[in-house]
């Protein structure tokens, strides 16, 4: 897309990076349970809930459309195998889903790697108390 210019930080070297909208908010993430692992498991569970809900909606849409158009019987779905192009597309979609699901685990490592070098200017409490 011609209208999208790379952010300054990534424009210095290497191929132009397609800009993206951030998916994670800045700020301290609260811990709700005594064991942070529970927080992460719940985080993942809700993501799964959402994805399952979306998938059921989509399946419902497809089945209703197919029945309306008299194209397909339910048994045909059970016997279907993807062709290479379909398989590639499904792999990519599946990978994106797993990446998203696993963000809780990635964040764990990020926290370890980032350490405690957050600047005082990033402290939201200090920002409003001044």
């Amino acid at each position: 897309m011609a209208s999208r210019k790379s952010p300054k930080k990534t424009a210095a070297k290497g191929p132009a990076v397609q800009p993206r909208i951030a998916r994670v908010a800045k700020g301290k993430k609260p811990q709700y349970f005594s064991d942070p692992a529970i927080d992460k498991l719940l985080w993942m569970t809700v993501t799964l809930m959402e994805e399952l809900s979306v998938t059921r909606d989509r399946l419902d849409t497809v089945e209703r459309l197919l029945a309306k158009k008299r194209v397909l019987k339910a048994s045909e779905v059970d016997l279907w195998r993807p062709d290479p192009k379909s398989a590639t597309e499904r792999d990519a979609r599946r990978k994106a889903f797993v990446d998203r699901m696993m963000r809780a685990v990635h964040a764990e490592l990020d926290e370890v790697l980032r350490g405690s070098n957050r600047g005082a200017e990033d402290d939201p409490v200090a920002a409003v108390e001044s």
């Binding site: 800009p19 719940l42 809700v46 959402e50 979306v54 409003v128």
Partner: protein
Amino acid sequence: MKGFKQHALLPTPQHDEQARQDFVGAFRGHLSGRVMPGNYQLFERRVAPRFAAEHGRTPADEQEIRECMTREPYYQFWSALQRRSQELLWESVIDPTEREWSTLITRARTAKRTKTRQRGSLRLDPSLAVPRYHTAADIHLQPGGYHTDFTADDVAAGAIYDKGINLYMGGALGSENDLMGNTLLAYLRERHPSQQPKRILDLGCAIGNSTVVWARAFPKAEVHGIDVGAPVLRYAHARAQALGVGIHFSQQNAERTDFADESFDLVISHIVLHETSKSALVRILAECRRLLKPGGLMLHLEIPRGRTPIEKFMHNWESYNNNETFSRYMTRIDLPAEARKAGFVGDEVSLQEFVPKIDVAQMNYTEHFFWKILVGRKDGAL
């Protein structure tokens, strides 16, 4: 959701994007309707009696309640799920926005050039320093907040906010997210019926969803909206153009604007003050007084933070968990006293309560809701 008005600056979700937004709506509806109220029962049946048995008295304040409640698994579950629902809300809106990103930017650029509505304008200031109360943490967990440009001429923050707040309140903000504007306008009409403002300033206007209400209500008035965020202002301007309303948007900090002394007869804000800071609050109120003509009116719509300690604790969930960092401090601030400190001396200053028309099922933290309005009238006659 139901009855939300589609306009040129809103992305149209595809099937799965819509399904995600539908899930967020269903999940948040369940949390606010079925899970959140249980916290009050938990407090009454278990937490308060235990506290009384141990200390021989009821919890004195919000902080004592916090210490007990945050140890309760039920509250922990609700909090963690509520937090995740907020993250999912933004994610579900960001995906379609990013997919239609370049189209939305092009539409906003075109709106800027439209000459048919001469009364509207957009003035950005790239040199404006975005205050730390915006940059330290993304307010309401919206990634990038109101101020981040992810690309040139970005409007994403505006599109995300527009659909996001619609989902946040399960559609209760109205077909054009106009509930706050309508509420404050209803207050003005009810309590100050003779007021016919000629110049109106909306502070922290974001996407101008409330500003539009005022411009429509007073078509002869010159209406201005300011905000520190460039992407929301680009969106606000284009959105107002799309809705056929002329508003002058400019990128300015409400703590100190470039408008002339005594140049407005009405200065308003809609749930903005609690997103600022202790020092910014006084500066904003002082700026309001400087901008008001003698006899001019200042109206700040604010969300109440509960009457009882448990209600206060529940309302301030937003502060600890949804990056409304300043709101817990504002709970303890005497707003009329701050206004007097800021120069409203010898002026009428008061904090009014105003009951809105909101479906109780949409309330996140309490079943009792009323707005608070900080009112200041600069001495003199218009």
